[in-house]
């Protein structure tokens, strides 16, 4: 049954492709700068951080704006996958109640759109990192598994968030707070080693900890990430994906009635 579903989703790959394309192109349609906003947006964010953290909130960390920026772009993808993902089935109500297609397409589309958007933002990340600290060609390939692991985790969480929100609309708002808390519990704005020693084991259970560290390792410290933590992150991502898959498959049967 699950294999059939996987095959079916594969057969609907054109739909995923078209929907991702539509979302990406449709996002800035009508605005003067159009698609250019995809790059302009992270650049402007970076500008704000640079001003705030080099003039007002000065940090001990060298080139803190880059330190933060490298972690922030992947985080924004994760946050959007979970928080925006919560409503990705709800938002397509008219399609879900009127047309058959494997429902998994909706979260996959949502996460993939965010993922492609992140990849485009990485053009800016590379530029900034390249000018600021330089790039290590030997370490860069490690970005690929890091991104794949993050995608797996994001997709798993999106499945869960989307399925639950259909039945329980408060989830959307609960997730708003939860995601904010998660941001502060992940080493995005601070280095992981400032967390008290005795809390470290719990802290490391957060799958975003190894993922963030891996991005930073490659782009900020210019060295390959620690492989054991990567594997731990992969394992956690897969647990969420498998759990999310089964939960979504079970709950999607009654989507059309609940909407």
């Amino acid at each position: 049954m699950h294999m059939d579903r996987l095959r079916e989703i594969y057969n609907y790959r054109e739909m995923i492709y078209m929907m991702v394309r539509r979302d990406l192109r449709g996002r800035y349609k009508g605005s003067v700068l159009g698609f250019f906003w995809t790059f302009l947006n992270p650049l402007l964010q970076l500008g704000v951080y640079t001003i705030v953290f080099s003039i007002i909130l000065r940090s001990d960390i060298e080139k803190y704006y880059l330190y933060l920026f490298i972690a922030l772009i992947p985080w924004l993808f994760m946050a959007n996958s979970v928080q925006g993902g919560a409503t990705c089935v709800l938002a397509q109500k008219s399609m879900v109640t009127k047309i058959y297609f494997p429902r998994q397409v909706l979260p996959i589309t949502h996460v993939t759109t965010g993922f492609v958007n992140m990849l485009l933002c990485f053009v800016v990340v590379f530029l900034v990192a390249g000018f600021s600290v330089g790039l290590n060609i030997m370490a860069l390939p490690y970005l690929i598994p890091t991104m794949v692991i993050e995608y797996i985790l994001a997709l798993g969480l999106c499945f869960i968030a989307a399925a639950v929100t259909v039945y329980f609309r408060d989830m959307e708002h609960i997730l708003g707070i939860a995601v904010m808390a998660w941001q502060f519990l992940s080493p995005i704005m601070y280095p992981p080693d400032i967390v008290p020693e005795r809390l470290q084991p719990i802290f490391n259970l957060n799958p975003m900890t190894p993922i963030t560290s891996a991005y930073r390792s490659v782009l900020y410290y210019k060295r390959p990430p620690d492989l054991t933590t990567m594997l731990a992150a992969l394992a956690m991502g897969l647990v969420f994906l498998v759990f999310g898959w089964f939960l979504f498959e079970k709950m999607q049967r009654h989507f059309a009635e609940e909407l």
Binding site: N11, Y12, R13, E14, M15, Y17, M18, M19, R22, R25, G26, K29, G30, S94, M95, V96, T97, K98, I99, Y100, F101, Y167, F168, R169, D170, R253, H254, A256, E257, E258
Partner: protein, 428 residues
């Protein structure tokens, strides 16, 4: 599932929880637990049926009877609470048109998005692209953003995509009300082509006429159960009769017409009766049985009204007795009379040259109100046999002339008497 079965439904049951006051937020779930009362409404109750490959079947029933739910179960949008649906081959559902259209994108791009939602792959869409554009009649507008389209253009594009999906099983829900009359006719013809190509079709419609034209079988759903099943010509009159009676019992009961002994081929509430239907030939002679092909035919229908009717329409259909509908037409009697239809009268239909080919034919007449309900519906009111010395296959003779031309060929033409002149032969 047997080989020649396309859709097999067994013991389908579906019930919905109908909440009196539904809330799906936490506050509502906890605080108003008492208010979250609901009743289980059984929408479909143990429905079983099969549809053969290549068969077209119509599902009829009043609003809320469960026919749309049934279609949603077939299309897998809903899952049954009990029972199974098995469908062979690719299913396409014309339920929602224009899914995923983005107003800022061009018609062409939206074709790709929309078709991909129906599960088509890139190459499959490429193959159909031209057919879709042609069918939509959008021409050069296809590269303009969809937001600049009129609603008619929008629906034409949406329908063009949906109808070109090429499924093995096509599910259609009340969508033939798209665009202008010409486009509707085109859609309908396309549906016929699809059927001729061997696609299994399930149609949900309020338009019994459409179902009669395309379906071999009708399924009448009433209160979640199959009430009747059979050829549309048998099921529909019974259905209309049932609806008439129900309407009469409900809100404003019209004074009941005394029930007459009704023959089996006659339905309707009896507010008007066609008392006689007579056929006359050229010379004014009444037809006994035979009608010569090519002669004129006059159909006289006498009617008697029991009470004034609202916008009555008189319909007449010519069937070959093996069930092929040869021709049907209707008349708004009021417009013709210039006054309301009351009392008694006669409607005459003059057919200049009747060109139906030799066979036995039957005539159905009915008088319906503006909502389509029959006041009188008389099947097989009259039979006649067409005669003609010439034997030609088909349903109807198309009046024609022949013309042949041949280029003069040096040797051959000299040898024969032909001189290259076009020769004409007029059909008698």
């Amino acid at each position: 599932m047997e080989n020649n079965i396309a859709i097999s439904c067994r013991n389908l049951t579906k019930d919905f929880k109908v909440y009196f006051d539904k809330g799906s937020s936490l506050k509502e779930k906890i605080l108003f637990r008492n208010r979250r009362r609901y009743e289980d409404r059984i929408v479909l109750d143990d429905v079983s049926f099969d549809v053969k490959k290549g068969e077209a079947i119509g599902i009829i029933g009043e609003n809320g009877c469960g026919k749309s739910t049934l279609l949603k179960l077939l299309s897998r949008i809903l899952y049954p609470d009990n029972g199974t649906v098995e469908i062979e081959g690719r299913v396409s559902a014309l339920i929602e048109l224009g899914a995923g259209f983005h107003p800022d994108m061009s018609g062409r791009e939206n074709i790709y998005t929309n078709a991909s939602i129906f599960g088509l792959k890139k190459e499959e869409i490429d193959d159909r692209l031209q057919a879709i554009i042609d069918f939509s009649e959008l021409g050069d507008y296809i590269d303009n953003p969809v937001r600049t389209y009129s609603s008619g253009m929008y629906m034409r594009l949406a329908f063009a995509v949906a109808i070109n999906v090429d499924a093995d099983v096509l599910l259609v829900d009340e969508i033939l009300a798209v665009g202008d009359a010409a486009f509707q006719a085109k859609c309908f013809n396309r549906l016929r082509e699809i059927k001729a190509a061997g696609t299994t079709i399930v149609i949900v419609s309020h338009s019994l006429g459409q179902i009669e034209q395309i379906c071999e079988r009708s399924l009448w759903i009433c209160d979640g159960k199959i009430r009747a099943e059979g050829s549309p010509r048998e099921v529909h009159p019974a259905y209309l009769d049932f609806m008439n009676r129900r309407n009469e019992h409900e809100p404003a009961p019209e004074p009941p017409v005394e029930e007459e002994e009704q023959p089996k081929n006659r339905w309707g509430n009896g507010n008007v009766r066609i008392s006689a239907l007579r056929l006359f030939t050229d010379g004014g002679e009444e037809v006994v049985e035979n009608v010569q092909l090519g002669t004129s035919l006059r159909v006289e229908m006498e009617y008697a009204c029991k009470r004034p009717l609202k916008k009555p329409q008189l319909n007449i259909s010519f069937y070959r007795t093996d069930g092929v509908l040869c021709y049907a037409t209707g008349l708004m009697v009021e417009d013709e009379l210039g006054t309301a239809m009351t009392g008694q009268g006669t409607v005459t239909m003059e057919i200049g040259r009747i060109l139906l080919l030799p066979a036995q034919y039957s005539i159905d007449v009915s008088i319906t109100g503006e909502d389509g309900f029959a006041y009188d519906d008389w099947h097989d009111a009259r039979r006649f046999v067409m005669c003609c010395p010439q034997v030609e296959p088909g349903i109807v003779r198309l009046e024609h002339t022949w013309e042949c031309t041949q280029a003069p060929d040096a040797k051959e033409t000299n040898a024969t008497e032909g001189d290259g002149e076009p020769c004409r032969k007029k059909n008698p």
